[in-house]
Each structure stands twice: as structure tokens, then as C-alpha cells.
């Protein structure tokens, strides 16, 4: 997987580049807006991590140029302007996700990995599964080892998101965003309580446990 990191702060950039490389990504890094435009036009990336404030060309301008030329590469906007208005502006300009600085690398990684999946052909699946857990999106039923499991609408949503991103780490705010459609950093353990209820239903009576807690980062569904 190929990622372009457009970030002018050397410290932040090297942290992100190093981290992504350690996770097995092929990483290009540019620190200048004009160069970013050139790279975006000449290479194909799976994901672009784009800082908003850049020398020469503003991040949003790059994004708008990309979208205007039909480039639909998923873009994660990175910005110190982590306020609601800026988020909305970034997403309106064609961004796929938004992350406010300062951020935890785990959060960035989780979002980049989720975005990289979007680039691929959106398969119209009706069935999601991991190990002996399977979910039917049409009948909205879940079974584990053939045993039907009753889930509430939210639990179903949670599990669907985890399944679609199986093997990847998803953060609490990503879950809140994807399942509840609200964007803020839940500083309490409200999401944990929902996950623990889901766990009760899909993991308690089965082996091995699928829902993993990733300390300091979030959750991951793994066999």
C-alpha cells in the first residue's frame, strides 16, 4: 500500500512516516504544497495524508484541484485547526476524513487503514464474516458457530463497522462517528460500555474472543 504524507512540520512528518513504514506502508513524503500537487498528478496512491496549512499551496486547494480533475484518492486531512467549522470545510472540499492535531499515531493509522479500504472496488456484499462469526446484511442476522445472536440496532452497527475493518484498529471516536454519526472525542468510557455489551453477546460463550482492546488506541476485531 502506497501513502503520500503532505506535512511541512518535520517532527510530525518523520513521526508519521516512521510509524507508517513500521506498519508496512510504502511512504512518500513532501513538505511543500506545489510539490504535493505535482506528486498527486504523477503518481497513484492508496491514501493521502494532507496537512491543511502548507507553504505555497494551501492543503484545501490541493484537495479541490484533485477532486476537480477526477482524482478520488481517499484523503485524510490533518490540521491544527481542529474545530467543527474547519472539519466541515475540509470535508466539503472533498476530504474523506479529518484528524485534528495533536493526534495519537494509533488514531492516524486506524483512519489511514480504514480509508485505504475505500479505494478498492466497493463490493456489494451481503455477507460479512470473520472466523466462525458471520453477519447477513440483508436479513440483519448474526450467527456465531451457527448459533443465532440477538443484537440491538446499535450493536449491529458496531459489529458491522468492526467486521468491515476486521484486522484493523478502530478508535473510539471513529466508532462514535461511524455508528452514531456524531463527531467529538468521547472523553469518557461511553463507547467502551457499548463494546463490552457487544462482547458479552458475541464472545462470552465462544472461543476465541474476537473483539480485542488495543491499549491507548481503540478496538480491533481479530480471529
Amino acid at each position: 500500500m502506497h501513502v503520500l504524507v503532505v506535512e511541512d512540520d518535520e517532527r510530525v512528518a518523520s513521526h508519521v512516516v516512521k510509524g507508517l513504514k513500521a506498519e508496512g506502508w510504502l511512504v512518500d513524503h513532501v513538505s511543500d504544497g506545489r510539490e504535493a500537487l505535482f506528486r498527486v498528478a504523477s503518481e497513484t496512491y492508496d491514501v493521502i495524508v494532507l496537512d491543511r496549512m502548507l507553504p505555497n499551496v494551501d492543503g484545501l486547494k490541493i484537495l479541490q484541484t484533485m477532486r476537480a480533475t477526477g482524482d478520488s484518492t481517499p484523503v485524510l486531512i490533518l490540521s491544527a485547526l481542529g474545530d467543527v467549522d474547519n472539519r466541515v470545510k475540509g470535508l466539503r472540499a472533498g476530504g474523506d476524513d479529518y484528524l485534528a492535531k495533536p493526534f495519537a499515531f494509533s488514531e492516524l493509522l486506524a483512519r489511514v487503514e480504514v480509508l485505504s479500504r475505500r479505494k478498492g472496488v466497493v463490493q456489494e456484499t451481503t455477507e460479512l464474516s470473520l472466523a466462525d462469526l458471520s453477519m447477513n446484511l440483508l436479513t440483519r442476522t448474526v450467527t456465531r458457530s451457527g448459533t443465532p445472536i440477538e443484537l440491538t440496532t446499535r450493536e449491529f452497527g458496531l459489529l458491522e463497522y468492526l467486521l468491515r475493518n476486521a484486522g484493523r484498529v478502530v478508535s473510539r471516536s471513529m466508532l462514535l462517528e461511524a455508528v452514531w454519526d456524531y463527531n467529538f472525542d468521547p472523553q469518557t468510557n461511553i463507547i467502551d460500555q457499548h463494546v463490552s455489551r457487544l462482547r458479552q453477546k458475541i464472545d462470552k460463550d465462544f472461543d476465541p474472543p474476537l473483539v480485542q482492546t488495543v491499549r491507548g488506541a481503540g478496538y480491533s476485531l481479530r480471529a
Binding site: 495533536p102 467529538f184 461511553i190
Partner: protein, 452 residues
């Protein structure tokens, strides 16, 4: 204002202007009396002389020299009012008739006005006259005049008054100006002193009021109000930064401890555990900063154009999100929200507000008790209430709990103390009214959104 530059002083300049105006008005008044008391009567005298001299010329033409002398003598004998003067000089220079004591030897201008003295009573008597100097046919010269000593005296009087008046008004102006400048400069100096004290760092400095309620007192009162507001703001800023420093100490100390122990760990599993713990501390710090930044931005940024938010759905979502947390404490989280409530605003922000309030309700409510979320429409406004059955917040703390880092009594160990600050900032941004009430027992938080 200082005495070192008196001519830069506004008050002194004003005084000078007043002084000039005052002198000018004295001059104008005296000028008017000069016109009425001297110039006009002089004109009347001249026209009388004209009339009389024309008559005398007529007499000379018809009766000759001797007739004219008779007429002149009659004029003196029968005069009423001003004393008439005359001089008749023969072509050879001999004085034919005269009751004037002095006149120019040769003819000059036709009209003359001059003074002369008489010694009839032994002492010098001053006289002034206006005279018409005429040439008669046959080489005779006739001077006809009237006494104008009264007008001369009046003129002297007015001139004297003018010089005294001008001098006095200048003197009074200077004295008054200095006194006024001094008085004003004293008032300004007291304001200046207070301002300098504030500049020097003493924010408690205030301008002394004289109690007269005059313009200076009003200015001083306004300045004092401004200073009080500044002092309050500075105090709250320093309180917040004190709190930030204080609040940072604990997590930073813990973070440092984790890292120090991490440096000594050998076992990879222990290293991972320590690193995870350190990351969690860093995450907490980061969350705290994000919350602080968010509050600051909400308080300072411009109000963005909101969108229509389906509040009913939002409140249902919030109740649903928090229900597991309530259930874990054995609490019943009930929500009574009619469908179709709408407000203008920022959906994520309103959700976070309600979420913070529910979180508090669950945290501070009785274990096994209840938390209520209700909403209703009141005269177009939408009122949202979150009520718990905990120990509530004492009345004297209800304002303070909105301050950053302030934790109510009995909640010292819970959270950052930023939740309600964010709720307050978000409410203000939505122009919503935020109120804490005693739910007996427990706390009721009331948010009243303005009519959309």
C-alpha cells in the same frame, strides 16, 4: 498634563481664547457707547453748524460785513445749548470779531476740531470746539463753531474705561485661566496617577471621586468600571492559568514516573505495559488540552451559521448512547422527548453538551437511582432538562462550576472539571440560556434554546 508645558495645555489655551473673547466684548460695548455718545452727537453738532453757517452766509450776502457782525453777536446772545464760537478775519488779517481764543493762522481743511484753554476764572479751563472754516467773498474769512467740551470729556471717559476694562479683563483672564488650569490639571492628574498605577501593575488602583457628579466624576466612574472589569478578567485569566499549571502537575508526574520505570524495564511484556500506561497518561493530557482549546475557541471564535438540527432525534441518540453507562450503575435513564423538536446550531456540539450533562448525571446520581432527560417546546423556545437524584450542587457553587477546572464539593476526584465549562461555552454560542436548579434532591440542568 504637567506644568512643564503650560502652553500645550488645552485648558490654558481655552482660557486664552475666553480672555480674547471677553476683551473683545468689552471693546465692543465701549465702541457702541462711543458711537452713540460721541460720534453721533458730533455729527449733530456739524449739521447744526452747517445750518447756522449757511444762514450767516445769507446774511453776509444781503447785509454785508456789519450785518454779519450783528448776526454773530445775536447768535451768541441768544444761544441755547452749546456755546457758539465765531471768528471773522478781514482780508488784511485784522480780526474783526472773535469769541474764540485760538484758531489756525491759515485756512486748512474746512472742518476742524480742536482744544483750547481759557483763563476767565483764573484757572485754566479746557474747551473743545468743532469749527467750520469758510472763505467769504471780498477776502473775508469766517470761522463758525460750537462748544463740544462735554463730548470731549465723554470721549476721554470711554477711552479710559476701554483701557482699564481691557487691562482688567486681561488680568482677570490670566488669573482665572491659571486657577482653572490648575483645578482641571489636578483632576486630570488624579486620573493620570490611577492610570500610571495600573500601567505599573497595580490593577486595584482607582480614580478618586469628588462626589460632585460633574463631568470629571462621571469620567472617573466610567474609568473605574473599566478598571474593575479588566481586573476581573485578568484575575480569571490568571486563575485559569494557575489551574492549568496545577492540573498539569499530576498527569505529568505520573507520565514521568511511568517513563522512568520504563527506562529500567528489561522484560518486553513489562516494557509494553509501561509504555501503554505512559501513552494513556499522554492521551489524558492531550484530551485535557483539546477540551481547553475547544472551550477557548467556542468562547472567542465568531458564531458560525448554524443548521437546523433535529433535536428530538439527537436527544434520543444521546440517551441511547449513555444508557449502558447508566445501567452499569443500576440507574434508570429515562427520556421524555416529543418528536419534531428543532433548534438552530451545531449538531456535534449540541450532542456533546447533552452528552456531558448525561455523563455528569450518571456519575453524580445515586447508584441504583435515576437520570431524566426531558425536552419540550415553550413559546417557540426549546427547553432541555437533565435531572439526577444525586446530592446536587450547593447554591453558592452554581456559578463557579462553569469555571474551568472547578470541581464542586464532593466531586473533587472526578474528571478534569471541564465538562460544564464546555457546556456553558457551547450554550453561549447557541445563545441558549443555561441554568442549574435544585431538583430536591439532585441537580437539574436547564438549557433553553431560543426559538429557531
Amino acid at each position: 498634563m504637567t506644568w512643564r508645558h503650560p502652553f500645550r495645555s488645552l485648558t490654558l489655551r481655552l482660557t486664552l481664547v475666553y480672555m480674547v473673547l471677553f476683551s473683545a466684548s468689552v471693546g465692543l460695548m465701549l465702541g457702541v457707547s462711543y458711537l452713540g455718545g460721541v460720534l453721533r452727537p458730533l455729527q449733530a453738532v456739524e449739521s447744526q453748524i452747517s445750518r447756522e453757517s449757511e444762514a450767516l452766509l445769507g446774511v453776509y450776502a444781503s447785509q454785508g460785513r456789519d450785518g454779519l457782525i450783528r448776526a454773530l453777536n445775536q447768535r451768541v446772545a441768544g444761544h441755547k445749548g452749546r456755546y457758539p464760537y465765531h471768528v471773522l478775519v478781514a482780508p488784511d488779517g485784522a480780526v474783526v470779531a472773535a469769541n474764540l481764543y485760538d484758531w489756525p493762522a491759515a485756512r486748512g481743511p474746512e472742518w476742524l476740531r480742536y482744544e483750547f484753554g481759557t483763563y476767565a476764572t483764573g484757572a485754566e479751563e479746557e474747551h473743545e470746539t468743532v469749527v467750520r472754516d469758510l472763505a467769504l467773498s471780498g477776502g473775508y474769512r469766517l470761522l463758525v463753531g460750537l462748544d463740544t467740551e462735554d463730548l470731549d470729556e465723554r470721549e476721554d471717559l470711554i477711552m479710559e474705561a476701554l483701557s482699564w476694562g481691557a487691562g482688567m479683563s486681561l488680568a482677570l483672564g490670566v488669573i482665572g485661566g491659571l486657577v482653572m488650569t490648575f483645578a482641571v490639571s489636578q483632576r486630570l492628574e488624579s486620573i493620570n496617577r490611577a492610570a500610571r498605577a495600573v500601567i505599573a501593575g497595580d490593577l486595584s488602583g482607582r480614580v478618586a471621586l469628588r462626589g460632585s457628579g460633574d463631568d470629571f466624576d462621571q469620567l472617573a466612574a466610567t474609568l473605574n468600571e473599566m478598571l474593575a472589569r479588566i481586573e476581573g478578567l485578568v484575575a480569571s485569566i490568571s486563575r485559569v492559568s494557575d489551574s492549568i499549571a496545577h492540573e498539569l502537575r499530576t498527569p505529568l508526574t505520573r507520565l514521568r514516573a511511568e517513563l522512568e520505570e520504563l527506562a529500567g524495564e528489561e522484560d518486553p511484556a513489562d516494557v509494553r505495559a509501561r509504555a501503554g500506561a505512559a501513552l494513556e497518561e499522554a492521551g489524558r493530557l492531550q484530551s485535557m488540552f483539546e477540551a481547553l482549546l475547544r472551550i477557548a475557541r467556542l468562547q472567542s471564535g465568531p458564531t458560525p451559521a448554524g443548521t437546523r438540527v433535529d433535536l428530538s432525534a439527537l436527544l434520543d441518540d444521546a440517551a441511547e448512547l449513555h444508557r449502558p453507562a447508566a445501567e452499569d450503575r443500576g440507574q434508570a435513564l429515562s427520556s421524555d422527548v416529543p418528536a419534531g423538536l428543532q433548534v438552530e446550531g451545531d449538531r456535534d456540539l449540541i450532542f456533546q453538551m447533552v452528552s456531558n450533562l448525561l455523563d455528569n448525571g450518571i456519575k453524580f446520581g445515586m447508584e441504583g437511582g435515576w437520570v431524566d432527560l426531558t425536552a419540550r417546546s415553550v413559546e417557540g423556545a426549546v427547553v432541555v432538562e437533565v435531572t439526577d437524584d444525586g446530592s446536587g450542587i450547593a447554591e453558592d457553587e452554581r456559578e463557579r462550576v462553569f469555571e474551568r477546572f472547578y470541581r464542586a464539593r464532593g466531586a473533587e476526584a472526578a474528571g478534569f472539571g471541564l465538562g460544564l465549562s464546555l457546556v456553558a461555552a457551547a450554550a453561549e454560542r447557541h445563545r441558549a440560556e443555561l441554568r442549574l436548579e435544585d431538583a430536591k434532591p439532585g441537580l437539574r440542568v436547564v438549557i433553553r434554546f431560543p426559538a429557531a
